[in-house]
Symmetry: C2
DNA sequence: CATTTTTTGATTTACGTACATCAAAATTGG
DNA sequence: CCAATTTTGATGTACGTAAATCAAAAAATG
């Protein structure tokens, strides 16, 4: 049997109350006594029974998720996954709240972070907009002892405890290699469709993509990035226009959202052309396009895994526990027609 | 606040003891009374607090993992992951035991299953050898109320509650498409290296691979399967021999273990040839080969995820709880040199 | 050394559930 | 209707920890 507080009280030759004072960092214990207790804890290998402690404390973990108010399939999916987690709240002792802030608006995010900080939740998860003020606001939370994880888009250089999302540079590099290999040494132009160069995840994907393309597939030439604002209509317009004007295009990398428009443009303009297309995020639209051959590969991040991972990490940090790194690593899914879930 | 047993006792107008009798299916409750209590439970939406219940019961989950005694990197890795789970036993209230049985030996597995059944564990995970007797033995366990999950290799047609492993047909299909696309319409022969056609996962991978190759890449011709017994030496010999005799080989699919030998053969015999190679299982050897270009892609199943998933599912089944299907789906990892963990 | 302050002990209640015991009430059988 | 049986209630203890209270002991201060 694992040792209990009674065992360490007996081993240290002190009372239960004193053990409790040491364990919960309450005042009123002499230095030497505290050390006796800590030694007993180490010697017996005592670890507090979290379930029992949470029961006694009536503990719940109030968690806040801050998301951009973006109207695309990916964000809807993320939202749905958080709501699914809310449905499990009772069993997981969580009390999760979702707040939405305008997208691409650092100041709005900063204000919300300040509001949230005042509520002193057990943890905060946010889809970060990459700006110095946001970094400062996040660091402030961390400094106040509130665990913070970034979701989907990271905030490097900040003190956030964890990032629950994919390595976007690796994603871009992988996309480049897949495209290059699929094209098998062909020469031509590559169109890149992004949401916005203001968000870090898109910038990083482009960076990875451009770097591998340049180094390993010199026969391919990148056209200037098209910024579709993650909006299907804009994406449609941009891609239709590019395909109309330039018939040297042999491949397309869509690294953001709004793929519905991309797919429509491909079906209209590229029926007679052999284009190789790689897109991000598995949705009903990209899935159908993969199956009918309009898209050749989909890179995906599993929103459900990201949300569950963020919750696990926030709870663990709130309790000062270690996380299983391998479990919390969000993998880049590569989907071909054959391995769709 | 969520309702407690006290609340349902009050709502049903009975005593705590009666509620307890109903909840724990103890005898001595009249039918009408039992219904009153069950109505109150439904009306208030009561769900028993598992943590408190487990605390009161002093519950632990004795789990048994049955593995083949195979000496390859993958099985070593699987073993290590289970031992890592054992290290977390205290926090997870598990009591995990590993037993090894001779590989490819259905009778030995059946005997072990019977031994294990006699110990009445809370759950059993096994790497299944595909044989009718094993199916019967597994069904027997399930019939006795013991949750069973198959690990890595499934036992279709049995009553096992869950399979913690990848879809091997999809894996084979994916390998074929990757190889076909990487070869970009080239004509030639494909060598397939397997462990043994006696294990289901290898058969399924081959089946998926052959089917996509035949349908979608008719320019590629599969050579008869080489069975390397998951052994590096045998694999080396077989591949070196094939490469020496046949210079029409343009691609290799290694769907089993023993890749150390494959890689050695490639470095000796194929320095001057442009071979496209797809292999299974990320190990130190395949990782290095991917990075130096000897292998073009690695398909992988994450042993850590499989083990953690098996444990979660067994515990949930033991408690009669639902599992989050999306969380327990073991994904096929596709690694290129750019997205290695 | 007396007094104040700090440290420690002893004890109790609580969290939500499980389980056991004994008495009281209700039901059933004859 | 009485006795035997079944059903129900009341109560207590336990799991391992948190947290509070009050008294007792020890240490520090003058």
């Amino acid at each position: 049997m694992r040792p209990t507080v009674h065992d360490i009280a007996a081993a240290a030759g002190v009372s239960l109350a004193t053990v409790d004072r040491v364990l919960n960092r309450r005042p009123g214990v002499r230095h030497v006594t505290r050390e006796k207790v800590e030694t007993a804890i180490r010697d017996l290998g005592y670890v507090r029974d979290l379930a029992a402690a949470n029961l006694a404390k009536g503990r719940v973990y109030p968690l806040t998720f801050i998301l951009p108010a973006s109207d695309n399939s990916f964000m809807h999916g993320l939202n749905a996954e958080i709501r699914a987690a809310i449905a499990r709240s009772a069993a997981e002792r969580t009390d999760i709240r979702i707040v939405e802030v305008p997208a691409f608006d650092p100041q709005a995010l900063v204000r919300e972070l300040e509001t949230v900080a005042a509520e002193k939740p057990s943890g905060v998860a946010l889809v970060a907009t990459d700006a110095p003020d946001v970094r400062t606001a996040v660091d402030r939370l961390v400094h106040d002892g509130i665990p913070v994880v970034t979701l989907v888009s990271d905030l490097t250089g900040s003190l956030r405890h964890h990032y629950a999302g994919v390595d976007n540079i690796a994603a871009g590099r992988t996309a480049a290699r897949l495209l290059g290999r699929f094209l098998g040494g062909a020469k031509g132009e590559i169109a890149v469709l992004a949401g916005s160069m203001l968000v870090r995840d898109h910038r990083e994907r482009l960076e990875g993509f451009a770097s591998v393309t340049a180094q390993e597939f010199p026969a391919l030439h990148l056209l200037p990035v098209l910024e579709g604002r993650d909006d299907p209509e804009t994406a449609h317009m941009l891609i239709a226009d590019a395909l109309g004007k330039n018939d040297g295009i042999v491949g397309i990398y869509s690294l953001g959202a709004g793929n519905r428009g991309l797919i429509r443009a491909l079906k209209e303009k590229a029926v007679d052309r052999a284009l190789t297309v790689i897109a991000h995020e598995l949705t009903v639209h990209t899935r159908a396009a993969l199956l009918d051959g309009t898209i050749d590969a989909i890179l995906n991040q599993d929103a459900g895994h990201e949300v569950r991972s963020a919750i696990r990490v926030l709870k663990a940090k709130a309790d000062g526990l270690a996380v299983i790194d391998a479990q919390e690593r969000i993998r880049l899914d590569i989907f071909l027609k054959d391995n769709l879930p």
